[in-house]
């Protein structure tokens, strides 16, 4: 049994399991206490310059955009972002100068809609560094190892590739099979933000539909900000405890903001705002354009409600709700 390869990616967000336990002991309370606060307060309290941050959901789905915009508004700096199918979130966080490093599974693109002009420009000009490569499964399992309080989780991906070589993983010989096996280091992001369908004031949260990575991510994050479409009574949670995806004791802040995933999709509630995403993709082709977007939608609005107003208000939201429930057809949109 020997180490066959050591990835040269920066090992970000890893802690010795005993240090991780110590953090839990000293910083995560088992007390049911009211954690309701504003996005402004949550971000100012729990997001610090230099933090390793991670966003829940997937791509443009169920992303806690209210927190993302608030991070930009508060001009946080030197953040490292988990690029775990990160799209609009990482794009504007890099463009705004908040994030200058990333560990990347998928970043700098908007899936079908094309590559991200803004964050690509920052990476290609050296203003944002990719400090490690990884894959979606490997990221997911970094959270799993963290949630389990382990130093690593083995896996059979990344092997043989540059993705592995530029990752923070190690390859060893498996003492059971004698074959090479990849070891994915645990990750404990300094802060994660996850948007949910409903949640009580203590942080017990329900997510409708598929969970993506949020079961694991919520449990490994050192600090966790939950934004929720709706705050519900604790009794609602206790009535059907099998629906709880995230238990209160891993949660640090509960922020009630309806439509907080906008312009991303909230499964079952509202669709992507493709017009908004297209506007960003068009504007962000130049630095000036990116700044114009940030000015219009972040710096010059006081809060998420004003932002939604700037995006089209009630009429737009009504359309997105109808679109989500197939009551409006797909529209042809140009992103270029």
């Amino acid at each position: 049994m020997q180490i066959l390869q050591e990835g040269k990616g920066e090992l970000v967000g890893w802690h010795d399991p005993d240090e991780a336990r110590e953090w839990v002991l000293n910083n995560k309370s088992r007390e049911l206490k009211d954690k309701a606060m504003s996005a402004k307060e949550a971000v100012s309290k729990f997001v610090h310059d230099g933090d390793f941050i991670a966003s829940g959901g997937f791509g443009h789905i169920r992303v806690s955009m209210a927190v993302v915009y608030e991070i930009i508004r508060q001009k946080k700096r030197n953040l490292i972002m988990a690029g775990k199918t990160a799209v609009h979130d990482i794009d504007i966080l890099v463009a705004s100068g908040c994030v200058n490093r990333a560990e990347v599974a998928y970043s700098f693109g908007h899936e079908l809609r094309g590559l991200s002009p803004a964050s690509r420009r920052m990476v290609e000009s050296g203003r944002c560094k990719v400090i490690a490569e990884t894959s979606n499964a490997a990221y997911q399992w970094r959270w799993l190892a963290g949630m389990m309080g382990l130093p690593f989780i083995p896996s059979r991906n990344l092997l043989g590739t540059d993705t592995g070589k530029y990752s923070s993983c190690k390859v060893m010989r498996d003492p059971f099979s004698g074959k090479p096996i990849n070891l994915i280091p645990a990750a404990y992001p300094d802060v994660a933000f996850i948007h949910v369908h409903r949640c009580d004031i203590y942080g017990n949260a329900q997510i409708d539909g598929h969970l993506v990575e949020d079961f694991e991510l919520s449990r490994c994050a050192r600090r966790l900000i939950i934004t929720t479409e709706k705050v519900v009574d604790n009794e609602i949670i206790r009535r059907e405890p099998w629906k709880t995806s995230i238990p209160f004791f891993v949660v640090d802040a509960v922020v009630e903001i309806p439509y907080s995933a906008h312009p991303s999709e909230m499964p079952g509630l509202y669709w992507f705002d493709e017009e908004h995403i297209a506007e960003w993709l068009k504007l962000s082709r130049t630095e000036e354009g990116a700044d114009e977007y940030l000015q219009k939608y972040v710096y010059s609005v006081a809060n998420f409600r004003d932002y939604l107003e700037a995006c089209g208000g009630a009429k737009k939201l009504d359309y997105l709700k109808k679109r989500e429930s197939y009551k409006e057809p797909m529209k042809t949109i140009s992103y270029k």
């Binding site: 791509g59 993705t163 090479p180």
Partner: protein, 259 residues
């Protein structure tokens, strides 16, 4: 493919991708053409094709094309709406018969680059990275690639960055690296042709030419030598029914296939 056709390039790619898929098997699909091809297969020869999405959607019966492999369309009438941990674990354990990926750059062993053009730390073009590609390419029994733009800069001797494992350095390469036995790239579909991999050498080998494409054209659009068998078939040509389904049922706005 200079001649004017009833179908456009992306429709041709989707139809040929679809044809590779078998009924009653599973396919782990990425966004875009792989999704379109899988939906087409379900609506034609493979009604019981089992579609897997990395964000947690298992076996959906979609009534509308998803925009992302994670949106609510991917769990529409699914048999399970689960998590990435579940999907990736099942795939690592062998439940993904086919994987279906797109790529920017590939070498003769089917090693794929979707990370960077140029040097990693001083990139000429930064691409999105692996996403789930490395996982799909590591875990699936048979992986299919669609590379829409075959040319000397995409079919290269050495990929700028090896994002996703093909056969690595050739026969036995995957096993030596610790990857799953009997897994690896299976088909490559480009704007010119459909390729497979030679059993012995694990090198890219022509299977069929798209209508109007010559062997020379295929060779000229590759930096590495493509194996050419004695018998070369003609690729599948989209039927009227395929095109009707693609245009009317699957992608009416042309977000993937264009108008």
């Amino acid at each position: 493919m200079a001649a004017k056709t009833r179908y456009n390039l992306r429709e041709l790619l989707a139809c040929n991708g679809s044809k590779v898929l078998e009924n009653k098997k599973s396919v782990f699909v990425g966004t875009g053409l792989p999704m379109i091809a899988s939906m087409l297969a379900q609506k034609t020869h493979a009604p019981d094709l089992f579609i897997i999405f990395e964000a947690g959607g298992l076996g959906p019966l979609m009534k509308e094309l998803p925009i992302s492999v994670g949106d609510s369309r991917t769990i529409c009438r699914a048999i399970s709406a689960s998590s990435m941990h579940d999907v990736m674990s099942l795939s690592q354990a062998g439940y993904a018969d086919y994987g279906f990926l797109g790529g920017a750059q590939m070498d003769m062993y089917g090693n794929l680059n979707t990370t960077v053009i140029g040097d990693h730390d001083k990139p000429k073009v930064r691409l999105p990275g692996s996403g789930g590609a490395n996982d799909v390419g590591s875990f699936s029994n048979k992986t299919i690639y669609i590379i829409a733009n075959q040319c000397k800069r995409s079919f290269v001797n050495k990929v700028d960055f090896l994002t996703t494992a093909g056969y690595l350095d050739g026969p036995g390469g995957r096993e030596r690296a610790g990857l799953a036995r009997e897994s690896g790239p299976y088909r490559v579909i480009t704007q010119l042709a459909v390729y497979g991999f030679d059993d012995k050498t694990k090198r890219l080998k022509l299977i069929s030419l798209h209508p109007g494409v010559s062997v020379d054209e295929v060779k000229q659009n590759s930096d590495f030598e493509i194996l050419i068998p004695d018998e070369v078939e003609t690729s599948y040509v989209p039927s009227e029914n395929d095109l009707r389904i693609l245009r009317q049922e699957i992608d009416p706005t042309g977000i993937v296939l264009g108008k």
